[in-house]
Each structure stands twice: as structure tokens, then as C-alpha cells.
């Protein structure tokens, strides 16, 4: 089956968690909105599927995955579906619930990372909520980020199959997502992340381990990987990094 991914074509955003799973899983897929507009791509492709799905099981927002007749949205839901099909989660209900639970905790962290630059409204520019962003980012750096990173470091340490991956002895979609979150945080908060690096050696090692996996390395080096920028979830605003 060829999967179709619908996500905004100019940012990594939440779509990137799906892209990484599809790439590592060796799936056949089309990143539809990244096709030229003349071939049905562009932002209009996302809008079309959002509107065209009215009357069915309609998504609230992208990312959206078409898998045969299924139209799925919500990042963690899509990964929960793809995991067994792409061999990115162990067999067994307990392990799958655990991987999904970790993914949902990463989802929470992603919302909080996003809201450092948009604490008031998605509908406003960063510049229109900068004083509030400075306050929220300070709380994020000093309290929330250490809490989340400390948690994932402990989860790695506590994995009975070893600290190479979060769940069992093989890579799961949750590891790919954790890689992406660390990459994003390193981009957005280089100062804060550097200050915390020594306390989270297992996270740094996981980041490098995933980055070096052949399919991920090939993807990251390709034009399919959109660079980080100041329109996505993770943005480099030095003032929010306490610089």
C-alpha cells in the first residue's frame, strides 16, 4: 500500500513525526502537499482533504494519513496505527500501550514547546505576544523542560532491555519522535539544552543513535527533510533561550 501524507509543505511541524516513521519503516508514501501545485500539491492539497472529508470521519487538523480507505489524523493516533505495520513497535498490547503512552507525553511536551512562542494565541504573530512569550519560555526552561527531559532519561535507564531505546531492544516510533523533539529543542534552545546536557547522557546518546540509523541519515541528508525554521513548532528566538 502507498500511504498518502497530508501536511503543510513548508514546516516540519507535527507532520515530521509521521515522516520519520514512514522513512524508518521503509514505507511507500507520497508527501502530497510537497508535490508541485500542478501535480496536486501545495497547501491547497491539505485544505482539499480537510474539506472533502466533511460527511465522513473528518480530521480536525493535519497531519492526516490516507491508508487505503482509512483517513486518520492526530499524530499519536497515526503512529499507533503505523507502528505494527512498519515494525516500529513490539508485539503485545502492554508494549503498544506503553509506546503510545510515551508518545502522548511527547505530544504534551511539543504543545508546551510551541506555546513558548505562542502563549496567547495561534492567531497572532510572535511579535504580538513577545512579553508573554518571555515569561512562558522562562518557566519552560527552568521547570517544564527539566521535568520532561528527566522523565525520559529515567525511562531509558529503567528499560529492562537496556537503555538504547525507550521500549524493548529495538527502535520504535517513540524513539524517532524523541529524536525529533531533542533535535527541535537543540535548535530552539541551544543555550538551555547545553546547560542540561550533562544530566541527560542517555537522551543525547539516543539522539545520536537515531540520527545515525541508515534510513534516517539518508532522509536527513535529502531534500525531503525540511530545515528547521521560524514558522514551525521549534523556533530559534535567542531571547526565549535566555540569551
Amino acid at each position: 500500500m502507498t500511504y498518502e501524507l497530508y501536511y503543510w509543505p513548508h514546516i516540519q511541524g507535527r507532520g515530521e513525526f509521521i515522516r520519520l516513521a514512514l522513512e524508518e519503516g521503509g514505507a511507500e508514501y507520497v508527501d502530497v502537499a510537497r508535490l508541485p501545485e500542478s501535480e496536486g500539491g501545495g497547501r491547497a492539497a491539505v485544505s482539499r482533504v480537510l474539506e472533502g472529508a466533511a460527511g465522513g470521519r473528518m480530521p480536525f487538523a493535519p497531519p492526516i494519513l490516507k491508508a487505503g480507505k482509512l483517513l486518520l489524523s492526530q499524530t499519536a493516533n497515526i503512529l499507533h496505527y503505523l507502528g505494527p505495520r512498519l515494525d516500529l513497535v513490539p508485539d503485545g498490547e502492554a508494549a503498544r500501550l506503553w509506546a503510545h503512552q510515551l508518545q502522548l507525553t511527547l505530544t504534551d511536551l511539543v504543545v508546551e514547546a510551541h506555546d513558548t512562542h505562542h502563549p496567547i494565541a495561534k492567531s497572532l504573530y510572535y511579535e504580538d505576544q513577545k512579553p508573554e512569550a518571555l515569561r512562558r519560555a522562562a518557566d519552560f526552561r527552568t521547570l517544564r523542560l527539566p521535568k520532561f527531559l528527566g522523565y525520559f532519561e529515567r525511562v531509558l535507564a529503567a528499560n529492562p532491555a537496556g537503555d538504547r531505546y525507550l521500549v524493548g531492544r529495538s527502535v520504535t516510533y517513540a524513539d524517532l519522535s524523541l529524536f525529533q523533539v531533542i533535535a527541535g529543542l537543540n535548535f530552539a534552545f541551544p543555550r538551555a539544552m547545553a546547560a542540561m546536557a550533562r544530566r541527560h547522557p542517555k537522551l543525547a546518546a539516543l539522539h545520536q543513535r537515531v540520527e545515525a540509523r541508515p534510513r534516517i541519515a539518508a532522509y536527513l541528508a535529502s531534500s525531503r527533510r525540511i530545515p528547521f525554521n521560524e514558522r514551525g513548532i521549534f523556533r530559534r528566538y535567542p531571547e526565549l533561550d535566555g540569551a
Copy 2:
């Protein structure tokens, strides 16, 4: 099996979505932290399970459900597990992914409702972030709330099995959660919700339909239902309601 729920004993919070499913499903369960401290209850019960789980598949935060040997957290993950066991989701992967997807969208709405009174930091009091809360709440009332409510109204209208419930012809955990969200929004934003009521008749009908279900009605009338208050997700601060 007797389930054990661990959640803060003085608020509905995210635990309430689990409580409603357990009640409607007729499950045997203990709401552990609501027991007297002399019987192992109180907030300390939650802290004990958070800390005691270190070394295993540890939760990041409550609600936490103990189901035999399983220790689950993340509200939507717990409901995804309970759904089939309590007959609160239809058979079949497609329907279960759809119910879960709706639950995850409700999760997003709950975060945004919470952040109206805590846009800067969970670690600060409302009074310490009130100007920011006023701005965020105005955006929530005028843009985000109508977007979410309009979406769920359309989902009800588009259900091929009828507009009584979100998925299929019977109640699911997603309906119970939508009931809870509407109840909370009615409590926190009575003015904004009244102004929008006419545009969302199916949501209002669903709220009443769930409220009148015998097990839910009995639960709501019991002392097991904690009243809404100004410590939970949904808080009645008239200034945030545009009053």
C-alpha cells in the same frame, strides 16, 4: 477485575474522564486517593504510585489506572484500553481509531481550556498571570472554542448511524468525554456558551442525553462526583468569560 484509579482527590480534572467511563461501564473500581488517608488515600496515594513506579513503565503524571499488572497513564491511552473492556467503543479497528482520534481532539481542547487561566505557567497562581489570561481567554472564546464546537457538531451531523452519538449508534467513551467538556465549558464560560448554544443544538442534545443515562445520572447525584471548583481545569472566573 477491580480497577484502581489514582488521581488528585479534590478536583475532577483529567481523572473525571476515566471516572465517567468506569461508571457508565459498570466497572468495579476504587478511586484510591478519595479513600481516607488512614485507608491509604489522599494525595499521598498518587505520589506513592508515581514514585513507586520508578524502574518500571512509569507514568509522567496522573490519571493513572492500575489494571492487574498494567499501570497505565495518559487519559486517552487509558480510555483506549478501557473502551473495549467496558463496551464503550464499537468493534473493529477503524471505529476504535476514530473514537480515539476524537478523544485526542478533546484532549487538545482541554489543554486550551485550561490554559485560558494558566497561559504562562502551571507553577504560578492565576492571579500572577491574569492580564495574560484575559488575552488568551478572549482568543479562546472568539476563535478556538467556536472552531472546536463547530467541529464536534459537524461530526455528530455526519455520523451515518445518526446524530445521537459520535461513533456508531451507541454511547462511547468519547461521548462521555464530550459531555464532560461541555459541562465544564458551561461552568467556566456560561456567557460565551449561551451565546453559541443556538449554533450547536446537537452538542446540547448530546450533553443532556449523556447526563440522563441512568448510571451517569446516579453518579452525578452521588458524593463520588466532585463539584466543579476553582482548582480544576474548568474554572468560573467571570472576567475570562467576557463578563
